[in-house]
């Protein structure tokens, strides 16, 4: 395995983030830094990656593990290049999120929670993403895709596949 180390650019950003908090409170930077780590190291947080973040912030590895396992945006196992998160809470369900999940399952040939065999897509249902007025919707990386229809999903999948890029929440990052 290659050495785990942020790029110089990301490291500089980590230092800027740490400075937002008072002296000695560098642990506050943990959530933002874990986002950066997930974006830079293949979309998930492997144990060596979490250990690296712990060493950067000068905290114990357990302090990172317990946080990483609490928040739903951190992946503790590998995911496909594009993590497709479909909202399924009440307001989205009222406007047809079940059909959206069904359509995605059919198109991708996988069930909710699974990854396509080419490693391109992971399908996951999530809870309210604050987009209930434009339901049904899904999130992929930092982008929200709203007022979904089967046609819109088909063209989105096509677009994501052609680009072949890994989606990340940090796409439009600092």
């Amino acid at each position: 395995m290659a050495e785990i180390k942020f790029s110089d650019e990301t490291l500089a950003l980590v230092h800027r983030i740490v400075k937002r908090y008072p002296e000695g409170k560098q642990k506050s930077a943990l959530l933002p830094v874990l986002h950066l780590a997930q974006a830079e190291f293949d979309g998930w947080l492997d144990v060596p990656v979490m250990d690296y973040v712990a060493s950067l912030l000068n905290i114990k590895p357990i302090e990172v593990y317990e946080v990483a396992s609490f928040y739903s945006m951190y992946n503790l196992s590998p995911v496909g290049k594009c993590l497709i998160e479909v909202c399924q809470t009440g307001p989205c369900w009222l406007r047809g999120s079940d059909d959206i999940v069904g359509h995605l399952e059919k198109r991708l040939g996988i069930k909710n929670g699974e990854t396509t065999s080419d490693g391109m897509f992971t399908l996951k249902t999530v809870e309210c993403l604050g987009s209930c007025g434009t339901a049904p919707m899904l999130q992929c990386g930092a982008e929200y895709y709203e007022d979904l229809t089967p046609e819109k999903i088909d063209s989105l999948l096509e677009k994501l596949k052609t680009s072949g890029e890994r989606s990340t929440y940090m796409k439009s990052r600092v």
Binding site: K27, Y71, P91, V174
Partner: protein, 455 residues
């Protein structure tokens, strides 16, 4: 068009930029406060305005500010709650995305009042693209001298940062939010001490919702008196309502508090009526946590008075026949919606989001979800309905934070007003196995029609 205070300039092209925002009168509250008012005067003005917290609980903002420990020699913090994860709520997102400088301006004016030299905006991680928008706005404000050292040449200095969460509804609870901001799991703290005494890093801290802080801008600009003129009684000002579900025009609307619910649902200015020409069955008026009401009770109180969009009117009748304004997440259901399935999604949500510290919440939410799942999927028993009522009762009031109550209320109220739908599910298991059951064969709930209350 009703009174627009927060969204007055929302349609001005380029309003998200500093220059355009400034041209519409932006940052005037900072100039007025810093140059002509003492911090205490600003606090007093907010108190006078009657502004109530817009995050859900409706606690008077000025009063909360007055509790801040100003004698402590520790630094004081203002933290903006932009976690916005209550199902049905998306107004803060709209405000921050479209008019980010309104929040930045509110943060500066409010921080000045509180004597905070550092302030944070804690925003849910899923809104990462808005982090970018806010950071850009902060840079612009700094370049124009509204942030940083010696703002506008005064001796007041402020640093403002955006802090992303990472997916956890519970981090909207203010003490969980502070834990999260300290880089920990979002476990709510026992209160007291309240954040006003020991909040972020055990320092005096005020936590306010995005909309609350944005509202401070106009209170300072137009004065508390004038702000008081908007709205009715103790519900002063305007409120952003996130409208979703089975309506013709979902979206975010700024309403003057006091607007009749009926007008909000049916007027073309707002929701534009029920979609597909269908009829109204039920509304969850203030985000998923508040009690659901059948059509008859959301339009009129039990006494037969028109229900208004105010804290008081929505709560009229208590939990027997009323609800709460909450976060203003207005979720509308038409005649084909299944109350049981809708409720199951909420309960699944609360189970997923429980931090797990208290047994009644951790176990109770999971148990309710399981029972609701089996009723909805045609495997329920007659006793299950009372079992749900019993579990909800045992969670309520027995937990560290209000998430437990928030999980219990929807269950209790759905059964209170729509018990016959639960009974139908138990009685006709074959019919409800199709997830679209009420779309295929609508069921007229007797409680909806008669408006009777099965308390």
């Amino acid at each position: 068009m009703g009174k627009q205070i927060l969204l007055e300039h929302i349609n001005v092209p380029g309003i998200h930029t500093f220059d355009v925002y400034r041209k519409t009168g932006g940052y005037a509250s900072v100039e007025k406060a810093l140059k002509t008012m003492t911090p205490d005067q600003v606090t007093e003005e907010v108190k006078e305005s009657g502004l109530r917290g817009r995050g859900g609980a409706g606690f008077p903002a000025g009063l909360k500010w007055s509790f801040l420990d100003r004698k402590s020699d520790k630094p004081r913090y203002l933290v903006c709650n932009a976690d916005e994860s209550e199902p049905g709520t998306f107004k803060d997102r709209y405000l921050m995305e479209k008019i980010p400088h309104l929040l930045i301006e509110g943060m500066i004016t409010s921080s000045y009042a509180l004597g905070a030299r550092t302030a944070y905006i804690y925003i849910r991680g899923e809104y990462m693209y808005i982090v970018r928008i806010l950071e850009k706005a902060i840079e612009e404000a700094r370049a124009a001298g509204f942030l940083g050292n010696n703002i506008l040449g005064t001796d007041y200095s402020l640093e403002l940062y955006v802090h992303p969460g990472a997916g956890a509804y519970i981090c909207g609870e203010e003490t969980a939010l502070l834990e999260s901001l300290e880089g920990k799991r979002g476990n709510p703290r026992l209160k007291p001490p309240f954040p006003a005494i020991a909040g972020l890093y055990a320092c005096p801290t005020v936590v306010n919702n995005v909309e609350t802080i944005a509202s401070v801008v106009s209170i300072i600009n137009i004065s508390a008196d004038k702000y008081n003129d908007v709205g009715i009684g103790k519900s002063t000002g305007t409120k952003l309502i996130s409208a979703s579900g089975h309506i013709n025009k979902p979206g975010v609307y700024e309403i003057e508090l006091g607007l009749p619910v009926e007008e909000f649902i049916y007027s073309d200015e707002y929701c534009g009526g029920i979609w597909k020409g269908r009829t109204l069955k039920a509304v969850v008026a203030g985000g998923s946590s508040v009690p659901i009401l059948p059509a008859s009770l959301i339009l009129k109180t039990a006494k037969g008075e028109p229900r208004l969009m105010t804290y008081e009117s929505l709560a009229d009748g208590g939990f027997v026949s009323g609800t709460m304004l909450g976060s203003g997440g207005f979720i509308v259901m038409d005649e084909t919606a299944c109350i049981v399935r809708n409720l199951w999604t909420y309960t699944r949500f609360y189970h997923h989001e429980s931090c797990g510290q208290c047994s009644p919440c951790r176990e109770g939410t999971g148990w309710m979800e399981k029972v609701l799942h089996r009723i909805e999927h045609g495997h329920g028993h007659a006793e299950d309905i009372d079992l749900l009522v019993d579990i909800a009762k045992k969670i309520e009031g027995n937990t560290i934070c209000p998430l437990g109550d928030a999980a219990a209320w929807p269950v209790a109220s759905a059964i209170r007003h729509f018990r016959d739908e639960f009974e139908y599910h138990v009685k006709y298991p074959e019919k409800v196995k199709n997830p679209r059951h009420f779309e295929i064969e609508p069921m007229q709930s007797s409680y909806t029609l008669a408006g009777t209350v099965n308390a």
